[in-house]
Amino acid sequence: MTRVHDMGGRFGDGPVDPGAPDDPLYAEAWHARALAVTLASGALGQWNLDMSRRARESLPPKEYASFSYYEKWVAAVADLLVETGVVTRDELATAAADESVPSGETGRREAHPLAARALRAENVAAALAKGSPVNRRFDGTPAFAAGQAVRTVRPAANRMVDGGHTRLPIYAAGATGRVLRCHGAHVFPDAHAHGLGEAPEPLYTVVFPAGELWAHPENPRDEVTLDLWQSYLEPA
């Protein structure tokens, strides 16, 4: 039930290349375009951020591993556009045949029921500044308090959808830590990524000693924190 994106703690990746301070923001011009197409498509309101993450991490492992960052984004947007019925497979295939049309040239226009929701240039700054807060009202009592010892569930897995989206990394499954911070209730990605509603749950920052997670921690006093929803946790 593991997914290729869940790579925390993995061995064999080699050094991190920190680049140079004056590196361009985008290594290729199309990276910027990919980011913008992704954000503008999302503004149509047919999927949420958890669904976007789910679509990216559901790419076949060979593609996930070989695609560059923005290739993953573009593939996920194409898949979501078809999944949510915004465009058809035939239209995507036709778009591929029309790739000689220069960027920005719209050619003939067809009325689409969602066209009224398209993000306009004059509304971009306000839409980005507004964001999408995910804190929600919660009428129950949070199960845990700051300072309390908790253990994460094992296996790390979506309990509603087999193989579905979840935000408990495998490296932290079954680990014991301590609640550092309570954030109130946040939208629950395991439900939200699959169209099962927001199902808000209390969210906690939990701190784990490195020795709880790794066989050979670099320093016994080092720690890792994770932001974890209540149903990922049980009392320790």
């Binding site: 703690g9 993995r10 913008a36 239209e91 790739e99 240039a121 995910v134 006093r221």
Partner: protein, 207 residues
């Protein structure tokens, strides 16, 4: 139990394999249907190129160094404090500031994707999104810091924040020595992007 169905005939495979052509095909299709406005794409790119970037976060850090009451409020509940400075929005709706000291060095990663505080730091650099950083930062942060040329004192503990939810973290680096008389604008010039992720230190004056 429902399964997360995976279609092996993925729609994205219908697009050209070359990524630049793939993006262009998608943009052309959506623009033709009136679903995206090419001018809106230009505006998105311009905002993250020219208006939202690490200078925002540097202002927050410099103020925290210069103003004890601001620092206190920031560490208590950063979201309204940075929002008051105009830093709020997509990928920065819930912000926590963590302060480096002689005892603890904070470092931020997102092992599951690449979550990053956009309104404060802009679009993440390539290394932040790399497999090597995502895989290694949690397990061997000191070796990763060495890749950045950063060495910590042995007695300094490392706390790595794996941002697995919508909380976004801003590291307040240690204030360099010899900056006592500096104002906020001068201090902000010492605050690098990497120092606010925890893979770098603030610059020394004159560095």
């Amino acid at each position: 139990m429902p399964h997360d169905h995976h279609d092996h005939d993925d729609p994205h495979a219908l697009l050209p394999p070359d990524p630049a052509l793939r993006v262009r095909a998608l943009e052309t299709l959506l623009a033709r249907k009136g679903l995206i406005d090419p001018a809106a794409l230009d505006e998105i790119i311009d905002i993250y190129q020219n208006r939202i970037g690490p200078r925002n976060g540097a202002q927050v850090v410099a103020r925290a160094w210069a103003d004890p009451a601001f620092r206190e409020a920031l560490l208590q509940d950063a979201t309204p404090v940075v929002a008051d400075l105009g830093f709020f929005g997509r990928q920065g709706e819930h912000v926590v500031a963590v302060e480096n000291t002689e005892e603890v060095h904070n470092m931020v990663v997102c092992t599951l994707c690449s979550c990053y505080p956009w309104p404060l730091l802009g679009i993440p650099p390539a290394w932040y999104k790399s497999d090597a950083y995502r895989a290694r930062a949690v397990r061997e942060p000191r070796k990763v810091l060495a890749d950045f040329g950063v060495a910590l004192l042995e007695q300094t503990a490392v706390r790595v924040w794996d941002s697995s939810a919508e909380v976004r973290y801003l590291v307040i680096p240690r204030r360099p020595e010899g900056t006592g008389g500096m104002g906020v604008d001068e201090l902000a010039k010492l605050v690098t992007r990497d120092s606010m992720i925890g893979t770098g230190l603030a610059l020394e004056p004159g560095q």
